[in-house]
Amino acid sequence: MINRKPFILFSTTLLTAAVALSGCGSGGNSAEGGTSDSGGSSGKSGEQTTTVDFWVNWGGDFKNDYQKYVIDEFEKTHPNIKVKMTYVEGTDKLLTSIAGGNPPDVAQLDRFMVGSWAAKGSLEDLSPLIDRDGINKDDYYPGVWAEATYNNKVYALPWGTDARALYYNKTLMQKAGLDPNKPPKTMDELDAMSAKMFKKAGGGKYDEIGFIPWMNQGFIYTYGWAFGGKFEENGQLTPNNPENVKALEWMVSYAKKYNIATLSSFSNAMGQTGINPFWTGKVGFIVDGNWILNDLAKMKPNFEWGVTPIPSPAGLPSTTWSGGFSYAIPKGAKHKEAAWELMKFIAGHDGTLLWAKRPDGTNDITAMPKVNEELKMDQNPNLKVFLDLMPTAKFRPVTPVGQKLWDELARVQDLAINGKGQPQALLDEVKKNVDNELAKVSQPQS
């Protein structure tokens, strides 16, 4: 017990993918810096430089590249602002530093968390600065901007986004007698095609798997939206929306049909080892994000594959959902004005473009449609599948209980596929639990 295993947080972050960062306050040594407009006057002696304490989520290559491609450029054009970039993994340190009153000036924060952090009054309201400097919210995808907004105030500038789609293994499809160039478009097609691909080995275990709905990026969110469900309506959270219930029932049907215990051996065990089951070549279909394209390019799997939108029930449009990061100024930051200058640059057109056009950023989707066009991302056929979904992409509700809702949905999904309870009752329970939490949060703050 003394040997507090250091990796707790590593894996937490790694596996949950949702994190924001922190580091520790630097002793800022100077007065608030001027704005970028003062560039011409910066040569004057007596002008002080401001050091902005900037925390990012990843070290190593990310930090070096970000410094090289983006921050160095910023410092060139803003000679009176120095950026001290520190990588800090996980949100624990950011939370601690805000509690201790010495947060960084700018922090990279999972956009998903902006709502709940803003609700606690721990992020600076950027709306006045946005109005003053004429930041145009139409430069960003609407959903991405909405995720950075809470109670009509903007608390972060969006940076990067992603989308989900269905990857299919052409080699396995061919083996199962399917046309590898006709991936499923509807849920029924997916069910029928995948059914042909399950192959049992000895001992009643599967050697090859057609599809397991809950593998990788397959969540209630993913299929709730695919089934036309909603998670928020008229200011209310609606996890138990009838279509969401149908989606969960559909997920459960796989657990029943193919025996959950046998499926778990694939999905549970593999997913958490950092192994993407799809790479093994033993999985027909899988829902995953655009970032996997980078890995697939690197891994060069020994099978043919393709990617297509997530199937939806007949008659419904294709959907996807998105997440991503943002930049925010924590309450108590010492150099707000200079921090804002930095944010405007790195989350604005120039910084976004500089980062997205780096040599190995080929499969990233930025939060700004215009930048994506400029880089001709849609000429990459695989990435185009995702890009085309972006304008209608769904976003998780912006709510103080966002994380709770996420975890509750994961919990009941796990219960449902293990045969512990009915989808309707379980999702009703989620509704009750998050509403309870929300009622507590909504009490007037002292």
Binding site: L15, T91, S122, A269, M270, K404, R411, N418
Partner: protein, 316 residues
């Protein structure tokens, strides 16, 4: 030994005489205090405030990001109605009651074997200590591989001897036993303590016993085990506290979800989620104090039994 008894007799008389004098007591009080002073200061500087604050938080809606409001016993009342809280208590007690005795059994057994004059002793000892050094991420992944129902080595071996292995971590009935098995892997630290304890047993005890013709079993029962009891007692208490706070492995194994079907939702895991994911530090603090009460109760029970089986040479 006879000579020793004589000395002991004299000492007892002297001690009794000294005990009586209040100057002796005063002197001992002063020494006791002075020797303990670093720790007393340490508690006052580093621990008193956090302890008091965590009690205070438990009565508020403190979120880390804002101070929140005073809610009296509200958090405690909410906990009583929180299903996940009860599941986590059940899982944690289940884990503790099986893994702690099992670890003591395995730990003492291995320590005894590692204490024999066997070839390669140093290498064996190092190997058994290794899992305590390997970072949790590696540990987690290797376990997921070993216990994979489909390709895992464990089921592969079981199949060789004609047993169809269970789903281990993917099967809600086998997930807790799997976790307990992994706990055994971490027994290396306890082994180190047992080995240190074994070094402390005076060789003359064994020499004397051998003169009397005692065999291995007899020596084990009448010398080794009784003299090991203070250290076993220590590992029992620490093992219980540690098991009740089990966090890293279940968290990394299940990615914080406690799956399958909540079977690996451990108490401190849920506490951590409340504190740092849901920003409910007040609620988490209330959980911490309830955990404290449970652990304290178990510890007191263990202390009550202490007189029956723990053998302190220093006791009169």
């Amino acid at each position: 030994m006879a000579a020793n008894d004589n000395v002991a007799g004299t000492v007892k008389t002297v001690r009794a005489a000294k005990r009586g004098s209040s100057s002796y007591e005063r002197k001992m009080s002063l020494y006791g205090f002075l020797f303990a002073l670093p720790w007393i200061l340490g508690i006052l500087i580093f621990s008193a405030y956090p302890l008091v604050m965590s009690i205070y938080y438990s009565f508020t809606t403190y979120s880390i990001l804002d101070p929140g409001q005073w809610v009296g016993g509200g958090n405690y009342k909410d906990l009583m109605a929180d299903g996940t809280f009860w599941i986590s208590i059940y899982n944690t007690l289940y884990y503790t009651f099986i893994s702690v005795p099992l670890n003591i059994l395995v730990g003492v057994g291995l320590a005894l074997m590692l204490n024999t004059k066997i070839r390669g002793q140093g290498i064996y000892r190092t190997i058994f200590f290794l899992p305590s050094l390997v970072p949790a991420v590696a540990t987690t992944i290797i376990w997921l591989w070993l216990l994979n129902p489909q390709f895992g080595l464990v089921n592969y071996w079981l199949e060789k001897i004609g047993i169809s292995g269970p789903g281990w971590l993917g099967d809600e009935h086998w997930s807790k036993p799997s976790l307990i098995l992994m706990g055994v892997w971490g027994v290396g630290q306890a082994i180190v303590i047992y080995l240190a304890g074994l070094q402390d047993i005076p060789q003359d005890y064994y020499d004397a016993a051998e003169v009397d013709g005692a065999g291995t079993a007899l020596k084990l029962r009448h010398i080794t085990l009784p003299l090991m009891t203070p250290v076993i007692f220590f590992n029992l208490i620490m093992g219980t506290i540690g098991a009740m706070q089990n966090f890293v492995l279940p968290y990394t194994l299940t990615n914080g979800t406690g799956s399958p079907a909540n079977s690996l939702t451990m108490y401190v895991m849920y506490l951590y989620q409340n504190a740092f994911n849901y920003l409910k530090m007040g609620y988490a603090s209330a959980m911490a104090w309830i955990l404290f009460l449970i652990v304290a109760l178990l510890t007191v029970l263990i202390f009550i039994t202490q007189k029956r089986w723990v053998h302190y040479q220093g006791k009169e």
